[in-house]
Structure formats: C-alpha cells, structure tokens
Symmetry: C2
Subunit: 436 residues, 2 copies
C-alpha cells in the first residue's frame, strides 16, 4: 500500500475535525485513492489536549519540528493568523513538502509569495478549506467550470453575518441584539470585527477572484463594508419590495477593471441565493457557457472544514499515481474496491407518505382509516379534511404520515381502498425531509 505521511499544525476545532475524519473514514479514503493517509506528527501548544486526541501520532508543541520532519510528506497548516503561519508554510515549502491550509487570511495576504515559492519547489499548496468551508468551490472554479470564461462570482461566504441577517429578518430584531445572541450560541466571536465588518468575506472573495480571472491576490484593494450599520427598517422595506438583504462578496470582470467588493446587498427574493439562511454559505458563479451555477453548504465548523482539508490531502495523494488514467477512478473508488452492494427493493424502502382519499361524507370513515393506519404502526403527522363541494357527497381527506416501510403502506392502502366509504383509489406520494 502506498503511504502519504501527514503532519498537522494546530489541533483546535478544524485540526481536531481533520484528525477525526481521517481516522473515521480511513478505509473509505483508501478505497478511493489507493493510498493510506497517515497522520504521523501533530503540533499544538496544548500538549495534553493534543495527546488525548491524536493517540496514533507523535505529538509536539514545536510546529517547526513538524515542518522539518523528514518523515512528513505534507504539512496541514491550521493554526491561523498570518505571521507564524506564513513562516511555517514557507519553511515547509523550502523543505519540499506539500502544504494544505484552511487559512484564508494567509492566502489572501501572502498567497502570491507562497505560490511563487511552491512553484520553485514543485510542491502543491492546496486551500479548498479557505473558502466556504466544506463546499468544494475552489475545485469547481479551477476545474469543474474550467471551460468557461467566468463573468462574475457572488457569494454568501461568512456564516456569522448570514446568521445575524437571517435572525434580523425572521425575528424583527436589531443588529446589536442578534449579535449578542450569536455570541451566546457560538456563531460569533467575542470580538466579531473580522466577520461583521466583512473582512473575513473579503479574504475569501480575494481568493475566488484570483482563481476566477487568473490574477494575483489583491486583498488590499478590496472594498469592504460590513453589516454593523444595517437597520431593521431597511430589511423590512426591502422585503416589502420583494428583496432580501445579504452580505455578498462580489467579483466581476468589466471592461474597465475587476470589481472586488463586499457589502450588504439587496437580492430579488426569488433567487435561490436569497433563500440561503442561517449560518450556511452559498456561492453563485456565472460562466459564459454554463450560465449561473450555485454551490451551497456549511461554510464553517470542525467536520465541514475538515471535509475540504481531507479532499485536498486526497488530491496530494493522487500525485503518487498521477500518470494513471485512473488518477481519479471511473467510479470514484479503486476498481478492485468497487463493491457489489445490494439494491433495496422498493417494497423495503422506508419513507413518509402523502395520502389522498376520496370518502363519502359519513360518520366513522376517518375512524376506520386511522385505525387501519394505527394497526400497522403508521403514525399520522398531519391531516387536511376538506368539505364536500356543493352538490357533492364526497370529500377529500389528505394525510401526511411519519416514516414506515413501503410494503406496510401498501397493505394499509389496500385495506383503506376496501372500505365501503372510500370511493376511489388512494393517491400516494412519497415524502422526504432531506434534512439529515
């Protein structure tokens, strides 16, 4: 088995998530890449915490020991900031190690220098996790949409501010009140400046603009306006006019130059991106061939961010067998790892259901129907009983059920259709929450 040896700098939220995901999904990751990705060393100032979590790795409080460790192939930088992290990343590159980072400030401010060093040393510097957390937007921009001349990119790329704006709209609260709530819930930091003033979003936007248009990082020229002065009344008036207010990062190619701006923005409520609520992120990319496409998901958090960090590590691992046409296997997993999984017959599928019955308007019908469902342990989530139309003696009954197995529902429907008061076939449509 081919091996990729990883050193992690910083075992905080994202570092811990990365360690956990690599360990939990180790077999799935190896099934995909054909490579075992091992964490061989971890550096954290809190040695006790790090040792408790990273039980399979060497643990140190000296980050330079990791970047200088000859056994480490790739350094994962998750300590944040842009002074020490810059030094560590440049040292790792000089030592011919690949680098994966989630550090948007580092890339937005020092990306030009870091990429030049990486090119000179022929190492990968990957940073999917730096923008929009677990959403693979960097890969979409660099590869998936590579055929396009990108015209503009616009995104909700800061979860804290989107949470605040959502609460302001839904609860009619002012910025200051929601900020306090967000801090209590852990959605906002004690010093929220980077988020609420749009600086964090400008870091991420800077990275997307560079990749979309093929230009250097120009963070210092980004226009940045936060949400601290946004008043409740304007969110209300915008809604009356059919708009939602979002903190957008927008970068657009124009004949006169590239727009690079973060500010509160009215968006028509019928746009999908206007309906991205809570702490979620979404990025809209407009390409000349594909038109607008949208990418949505969690923009922060331990495991969503780890999802992007580990995907980058897998790209590094794919360098080992790069010349194979199966660098990325046809079916995502190595051919010998494809499993002949059984398909569940539809009778065995579990689902919730929408049922519509047409029943004579007689007493006892509903009792009979609910008994049939109850006898088969099918519980009712909601019901809608319609009055018969004028000159009619039958009416619609609509029932939403909780989850049951399809064959159970088939039996219930057969029993319901056998009732004398039920005059037509039962209409059945499956229901999915798509939440978890």
């Amino acid at each position: 088995m081919k091996q990729l040896n990883v050193g992690i700098l910083g075992l905080g939220t994202v570092g811990g998530g990365t360690y956990t995901v690599l360990k939990r999904n180790a077999s799935e990751i190896t099934r995909r890449t054909g490579v075992a990705i091992n964490v061989v060393q971890v550096a954290d100032r809190n040695l006790a915490n790090a040792k408790a979590l990273a039980t399979d790795a060497d643990v140190t409080d000296d980050a330079f020991a990791v970047v200088n460790n000859p056994a480490v192939d790739v350094v994962v930088e998750l300590i944040g900031g842009y002074t020490l992290s810059r030094e560590l990343v440049l040292k790792a590159i000089a030592n011919k190690k690949h680098v994966v980072t989630a550090n948007k400030a580092l890339i937005a401010l020092h990306g030009n220098e870091i990429f030049a060093a990486a090119k000179a040393n022929n190492v990968i510097v990957a940073f999917e996790a730096a923008v929009a957390g677990g959403i693979p937007i960097i890969k979409a921009l660099r590869e998936g949409l590579g055929a396009n001349r990108v015209e503009w990119v616009a995104g909700i790329i800061n979860g804290t501010t989107n949470f605040i704006l959502t609460e302001m709209r839904e609860k009619g609260l002012n910025f200051a009140d929601v900020l306090g709530e967000a801090q209590r819930l852990g959605y906002a930091e004690a010093d929220p400046t980077f988020d609420v003033e749009g600086i964090d979003a400008a870091h991420k936007l800077t990275i997307m603009s560079a990749i979309a248009f093929g230009m250097p990082m120009k963070f210092e020229q980004a226009y940045t306006e936060g949400i601290t002065k946004l008043e409740q009344v304007d969110i209300k008036y915008a809604e009356e006019l059919g708009y939602r207010v979002k903190l957008l990062g927008i970068t657009k190619r124009t004949d006169n130059g590239v727009e690079l701006r973060v500010h509160p923005t009215l968006i028509p409520e019928k746009r999908l991106v206007a309906n991205v609520n809570g702490a979620m992120n979404a990025v809209v990319v407009k390409g000349d061939a594909v038109g607008p496409t949208l990418y949505y998901g969690a923009g922060a958090g331990a495991e969503p961010t780890a999802s992007a960090v580990v995907a980058d590590l897998m790209d590094v691992a794919r360098l080992i067998d790069a010349t194979s046409a199966q660098r990325v296997p046809y079916l995502a997993f190595q051919p010998e790892q494809v499993q002949d999984l059984a398909i569940l017959p539809i009778d065995e599928v579990q689902s919730a259901y929408y049922l519509r019955l047409r029943a004579s308007d007689k007493p006892g019908v509903l009792a009979d129907v609910t008994k049939i469902l109850g006898d088969r342990s099918i519980s009712i989530d909601a019901m809608l009983q319609k009055e018969p139309d004028e000159n009619e003696t039958e009416a619609d009954i609509v029932i939403l059920t909780h989850i049951t197995v399809e064959k159970n529902m088939n039996a219930a429907i057969a029993a319901i259709e056998a009732l004398e008061a039920i005059t037509t076939k039962v209409v059945r449509i499956r229901m999915e929450e798509l939440a978890k």
Copy 2:
C-alpha cells in the same frame, strides 16, 4: 505548446455547443491547462451542416473514421443512444484513445463494460456531462467530497419534468396541458416518455449512486415512477401543508441495501432544493463530515452541457503534465498566464441602489428628489412612500434605482441630503439582480 487532438462524434446541439465553446474560449482554456485543445475531426450524418460549423476540422459522415484516426487522442461521443455509441466507444478505447461522453443511457447501461475496457487500456472515460448538464456534480462526488462517507444523494435531475411541475404549481394547470406547452417551447420532446416517466432521471441517478457508494451501475434495479399521473389537486394540497412536489432521484445507503428510486416527492418548502424551479437542476449530497451540500445549475442545453464536456477534455489534457504539482495551477491559470488585472475603485462600480430618505411631509419634496436623480440620469425602478407615524411630521421614502455608476449616486445623495426637507442621512444599499 503541448497539443491535445480531439475527434467529435455528433455535431448536433451538444456537439455544436462543444465546438463553439472550445473555439470561443480557446485562449482561456490554454491559459488554464497549458495545452492547446484542437478539434481535428468531426463526424456527423449531416455533412453540409457539419462543414458549415466545423470550419477548422476535417468533416466526415463516418464515425468509425474518427475512432480509428491515429491523429485523434480523445474521442468525444455525442451521438446518443446505446448501440452504435457503445460500439464506437469500445472501439475508441481499444485504439487507446481517451473518451469523453455526455451519454447517460450508455454509461448507466454499459458503464461496467466500458470502464473495464478503459482500465485494461489505461485510458480515461469521462462523463461529467452525463449528469445534470453543466453542474460539476461528478467532480464534486468523486473529488470535492471524497473525504466523506456519502449517506445519500437526492436530485432534481430532469429539466423537462421540473419545468412541467413548476408550471403546474404556478399556473394551476394539469399535466397534459403543461406537457403541450413544454413541447411547443422545446422543453419536452415529441415523444416525452424518457423524461416524464423518470427513465432519464434513473439513468443519471444510477451513475451518481455508483460513484457515491463505489458500486457497479445497477440501472435495471432502479425503481422508476414518473409524473404523468400527478394531479393538480395534490400539488395544491401539498402546498397548503407546506410542501412542494418534485420529481426526485434518491439514492441512499441503508443497512439492508442501497435505495435507488425516482418518483414524485413532497419536500418541505423551506428546503433550498424545493425552490429550484423551471428547467433548472439541483443535486443535494449528504456526506458524513460536510453535512448536506447542494449544487445548482442548467441541466441541459448546448453550452451548459458543453461546459462539462470541455471540462472533461481539460482533465484529459492535464494528464500530459500529470506529475507536476501544478497539474491544476494554484491560481487555476498557468503561472506565466496570470494577469495583473486592475481593480475597479468602488467609485467606478456600477450598481442599482436602494435609497431610504426621511423627509418632512411637505409638498414638493418628492419632486425635488426625483429631479436630482433625473438630472444625473438615474432612473427609478420602484418607490415606496410611507405615511408619517402618528404625532410625526416626517415619513420614510424608499426608492429603488436602475443601474448607475457609484460616483454619480454619491453626488445625487449629497444633493438630496442638502435639501431642506431631508432631515437625516440617506441610507444607501446596493442591489444586484444576479440573473445574467
């Protein structure tokens, strides 16, 4: 300059779009990959049409001439069906040519055989365009979300049926009436069976399930139920209960087997995917680390599909320099092709605006304000004039403007604020349509 020589089979809608995008964006594509992608030969039964479009390529009506052409490195199969296309693809593979295809039926039905042949010949078979058109969902599943154990995938992956369902909901029409309209508009084919019975969606779902879980194509075991029996009344009742009805393809890993099913489905209206309307597609992927992520865009059409075909060709082109850490360059474009584009100062940015003014309730104020805007060629899109609250003599005026340049708006706002009747600062929020 490195070269990749392409032969295209079928110069219809998608083939024509592919030729056009490759030609129009040739310099952008080469800036990204460092490779010139040339269409050297094209096969189409309609020679005259093909010659009129593909002016730079050799044109033939013999598809086998292309797959046997020693000058062709990669064959793009866009003729559809799964008899002749299977034969052509297998012949191309036997001739050690890479294959790019948009053919979902071919992959869903014969993918297992094709991938085995491709592996034996160490060639790429890429099929991003086979699922959800221009949305890079195959890349997201295979690479971007590779760190995850995928739990389920659910998608609106047929534009025809989503268009029909959207019209049924918005206009209160029945299936048959909307189908006729869809056929007139070109959203549905003369024989719409493949779309409206869910077979097309089942092809795409089969492909996603194989990639999500690492298993062979099992199209013949997919459960497929279309929308032809769906009644208007059920869409209405679902809406009363807070749900939308969508034709979903759902594949889910369970302890007992893999679910693989296409059917009309109620989804809570607050889910983003429930708000995907018209002919657009969207896929939700639930990974154990990242949680739910969503991918949205055009699922069909000449250039959206071409966007995916050409992205696949770029992946093939990247095999030429596969061992470089810059296989995909840091900034998406080759380092020497990164351009130092100018950033537009915010004063020069063009935007529409939301303005809120607080004005004394005197006659003539609105005339003064609209004159100031008109004098600067700023036209008004909408206006909201509020009554003064009880015991107040001032009221809010909200104006939405059309697009103007920011410095022009700054001047207008200064003039408005100088009016005696305007008692506070003007609140200004930028507006974006994000439509084109």
